[in-house]
């Protein structure tokens, strides 16, 4: 039943002039699953997520959301369909408060003296604090600057924001790339929580150790092509590691080094 898939890319290619960024990629995201997208630098991960996010239109092939073909002209349109992308820069402003960041661009409003529209700061502060607390992050007050938060907390803030604004699909671009072990764990927990709420997640990473515990399925990209999609039950962590560009290379390097040492 095609309807089981919330997002589908069917034989999608994307060209930038003479460069083939994606060639015939097929990706299917089931409802409520965490789908991990693995690939080395230059594999086409960024182009793929930007296509999903509505930044790029596919050069050929079809993009379907909930079974219907879509042609997004801007990220805004994708967002309106519930497809939210959290990029590595997180779209947060460090000098602004948590609440102001949380609601940036979608400020809650009330009428002052019944006429002047102002930001409902009380609602913004309370909601931001509450939503972050649900994700296990406790902020002193929502008026503190985002610059005072750790990298992991910022990542969680960006994800919590996307969920609050009705994301059905979360696309996370290397959310654990710049984080320490403990903070990465928090973000992984958050991904798990999102899944429990029935949100589908596309999780891009280099790190199999981060991908394997939370993912339900894996798609491997290499030089713009999909090397296939695998359910977690069908594949071991070692096999995933091996499949990734780098897995065999690293093994070769290890062999070579050991051989030289011996």
């Amino acid at each position: 039943m095609a309807d089981d898939y919330i997002l589908e890319l069917d034989d999608v290619s994307k060209y930038f002039g003479t460069v083939i960024a994606l060639r015939g990629v097929t990706l299917r995201l089931k409802r409520g699953e965490v789908h991990c997208l693995l690939g080395d630098n230059g594999a086409g991960k960024s182009t793929l997520i930007k296509t999903l996010a509505g930044v790029h239109a596919p050069s050929s092939g079809q993009y379907r959301v909930e079974g219907q073909p879509v042609y997004f002209r801007s990220p805004r349109e994708a967002l309106d369909r519930g497809i939210a992308t959290v990029y590595q820069d997180l779209a947060l402003v460090p000098l602004m408060s948590v609440a102001r960041n949380f609601f940036a661009g979608r400020e809650p409003r009330r009428k002052l003296f019944g006429v002047i529209p102002v930001i409902d700061m009380k609602y913004a502060n309370d909601t931001a604090r509450e939503k972050l607390a649900e994700m296990g992050i406790f902020v002193r007050d929502a008026g503190q600057a985002v610059g005072t938060m750790s990298g992991g907390e910022r990542q969680c803030l960006a994800i919590a924001r996307a969920i609050h604004f009705g994301a059905k699909v979360l696309i996370l671009d290397e959310p654990t790339a710049a984080l320490g072990v403990k903070q990465s764990c928090n973000v992984l927990k958050l991904i798990h929580k999102a899944r429990e709420r029935g949100i589908s997640v596309i999780f891009i990473t280099h790190n199999v150790h981060h991908a394997y515990p939370v993912a339900d399925s894996f798609t491997l990209l290499n030089r713009g092509q999909s090397m296939g999609t695998f359910a977690k039950a069908d594949i071991s962590k070692e096999a995933v590691l091996d499949m990734m560009a780098g897995g065999t290379e690293i093994q070769n390097l290890v062999d070579e080094l050991e051989g030289r040492a011996a």
Partner: protein, 377 residues
């Protein structure tokens, strides 16, 4: 029973919540406000001139009106420049726009027989259109606003000179003052003072000093101060409380992030360039009303003075942080120093040295605040 259980679990949760939260002193909270530096600076210059010029009449009512007027004129510019700077851009054409607005008001009634109100409307429309053009060029080309508005600084100053010499055969278009007396509505908006009756009343009760002829030494509150207050209130409120204000901070803090969360970055920037143009035009019109003439060198270097006032007010040159109140205090510092120095025995040539020094201290202070705010120490 369950209520107790609930409250205990709530308490545990609260404790968990507070585990990583430390108390911060009210002093630190205050230090995080952008306008702190300028308030401290204001206190400092008041103390300084209170000491050196306390009995010179500088802080008598007429003295206050003197420096408040300087602060008011600059304050109008500073408020506009402040919002634009928070959004991450500059407008160096503000000073030239003042001169341009002056001739745009003066020439049509003097040489084309336009009614004054039409000329004033024309000046505002022309300036704001030029502001929009400034903004459009900046957001379209993505060139630094420094360069684009620098070009307009020269273009407008030159154009003002050309228009003035072409029509008036002089660098000053004079005689507009009479047109103001013939146009009571425009006059009521831009010239002279208000609340004259109140000051007569106060003088009658000996609260305000009187001239020998019985008139109070101060005629009333100059219109420029009312305009300043109105603009500062509207802009300050917009910045702090409204959705558009949040967009200004977001755009200046990180334009790319702003775009990604759906803030119309271009629209925000262009409207703020229109605002600075409006402020410059208002400055120009008020000056024409005050002096009865439009001089083509009017507003020279005002763009820099406005930027200095804004920076002293705690706004970051790189955008994303600042306040309108701070910019207003920056303008007050300017007015007090510029006028106050002539009340002291200090050679008034020191005025610029003093301002440059203030600017340097303010920038260093802001830099410190910002690195603290973004690192969370």
């Amino acid at each position: 029973m369950s209520a107790i259980h609930q409250s205990v679990s709530h308490m545990i949760q609260r404790q968990q919540a507070d585990e990583r939260v430390r108390k911060i002193s009210p002093w630190r909270v205050l230090l995080d406000r952008p306008e702190l530096g300028s308030i401290a600076g204001t206190v400092l210059v008041f103390a300084f001139f209170g000491f050196f010029a306390g009995d010179s009449g500088m802080f008598a009512l007429d003295g206050i009106i003197n420096w408040a007027k300087v602060a008011g004129y600059l304050g109008i510019l500073a408020v506009g420049a402040c919002l634009l700077m928070i959004a991450g851009e500059f407008d160096l054409s503000m000073g030239s726009m003042i001169g341009f607005a002056g001739v745009a008001v003066a020439i049509p009634p003097m040489y084309f027989g336009w009614p004054l109100w039409a000329a004033v409307l024309f000046a505002f429309a022309a300036c704001m259109a030029l502001g929009a053009l400034n903004g459009y060029l900046v957001v379209r080309t993505r060139l630094p606003s420094f360069i684009v508005t620098l070009a307009f600084m020269f273009i407008l100053r030159g154009l003002t000179l050309v228009l003035s010499t072409t029509f008036a055969n002089s660098t000053i278009v004079s005689g507009v003052g009479d047109k103001f007396t013939e146009a009571p509505f425009v006059q009521a908006l831009f010239s002279g003072t208000t609340l004259h009756g109140l000051f007569v009343f106060l003088a009658g009760h000996g609260i305000v000093d009187r001239f020998p002829n019985g008139q109070p030494v101060v005629d009333g509150i100059p219109k420029v101060l009312l305009w300043w207050a109105a603009i500062a209130l509207v802009c300050g409120f917009t910045l702090a409380r409204t959705r558009f204000g949040n967009w200004i901070y977001t755009v200046g803090g990180d334009a790319n992030a702003a775009k990604n969360v759906g803030v119309p970055v271009r629209r925000v920037k262009i409207s703020l360039f229109v605002l600075t143009a409006f402020c410059a035009c208002l400055f120009g019109v008020l000056q024409v009303a005050e002096f009865g003439s439009a001089a083509s060198d009017r507003g020279l270097q005002k763009e820099f003075e406005a930027i200095i006032a804004v920076v002293i007010g705690g706004t970051l040159l790189t955008g994303g942080f600042g306040s309108v109140i701070g910019a207003c205090f920056g303008a007050v510092i300017f007015g007090v120093v510029q006028i106050g120095i002539s009340y002291t025995n200090i050679d008034s040539d020191w005025y610029r040295v003093f301002l440059g020094g203030m600017l340097l201290i303010a920038v260093l202070f802001n830099h410190y605040i910002r690195s603290r705010a973004s690192s969370g120490k």
